[in-house]
Amino acid sequence: MNSAGNDIVALTAIDVDRTRRPKFYSRIISPAEQEFYSAQLSKLIPFEHFVWLAWSVKESAYKFLKRFDPELIFSPTKMAMDGLNFSGECFEGTVRSGDHVLFSKSFIRQDYIFSITNGEEDLSDIHCAIKKIGSSKPDDQSRAVRELLLRKLGHIFPESNLQIIKNPHGWPVIMREDEKLPIPVSFTHHGNFVAYTFQLSSASWKAHEEIL
């Protein structure tokens, strides 16, 4: 499946006390996921980080799947994280939504949690970048993440006039002149953080380089 999904949670923008209340976290994680945390992860990360990690994994999976089903509704407790392994650098696992199984990778840093998902276990074709900006206003976030992506794409497609537009369903589309580039991209922002993710295989990258 050719798509992109990501999500960032600014840890400075979350309400830790509220996150720890059952009324709140039970709308994000299932009882099975709570048990998994207690048994496997409670010595590694605080509970509020787990809750927002689950949120970011599920939200990124939702964004990934919404391209195939624009009517899809985000319903965190109907998505299930099956296991989550800590590699020393990041958390890797799978997330189920209906009949779909996606692969996730999440990073917990001092100020944020960032997740990406993909339909295949190999995430080497996924490109992403995260930036801390000086504003948390939606317009500034939107502008900053687009600039960040265009700067990256400028290296891949030099001398191209690239633009980012929104399609009717709300996800970003990369345009080169009048041509829609077949590169799925996902944006995310929260608090002072913005990030992009796009999928581009090295093979298609070379093909584009040849066209250019």
Binding site: A13, R18, F24, R27, W55, I73, P138, H190
Partner: protein
Amino acid sequence: MTRQEILNELKGVVAPYTTNKEALNNLSDQTDLIADLKINSANLVDIIIDAEARYNIEIDYDSADKMLNVGSCIDVISEKLNQK
């Protein structure tokens, strides 16, 4: 409560999570919480919980999933108030 009364209360519920005051002052059934009010999706659970407290209702998970724009929020809140 009438739909207008629910709407007036709803303004207070969503206000802490939006910086788009113009959209907040011009709420209609079609106003989308994320696209129009620019509410971060990470705050959607906050809005559900705040709405439960404000209207003294319980919003089940399936109903909460529908609360994506002002009209659907009012529909759900109205339904839950009528069930009390």
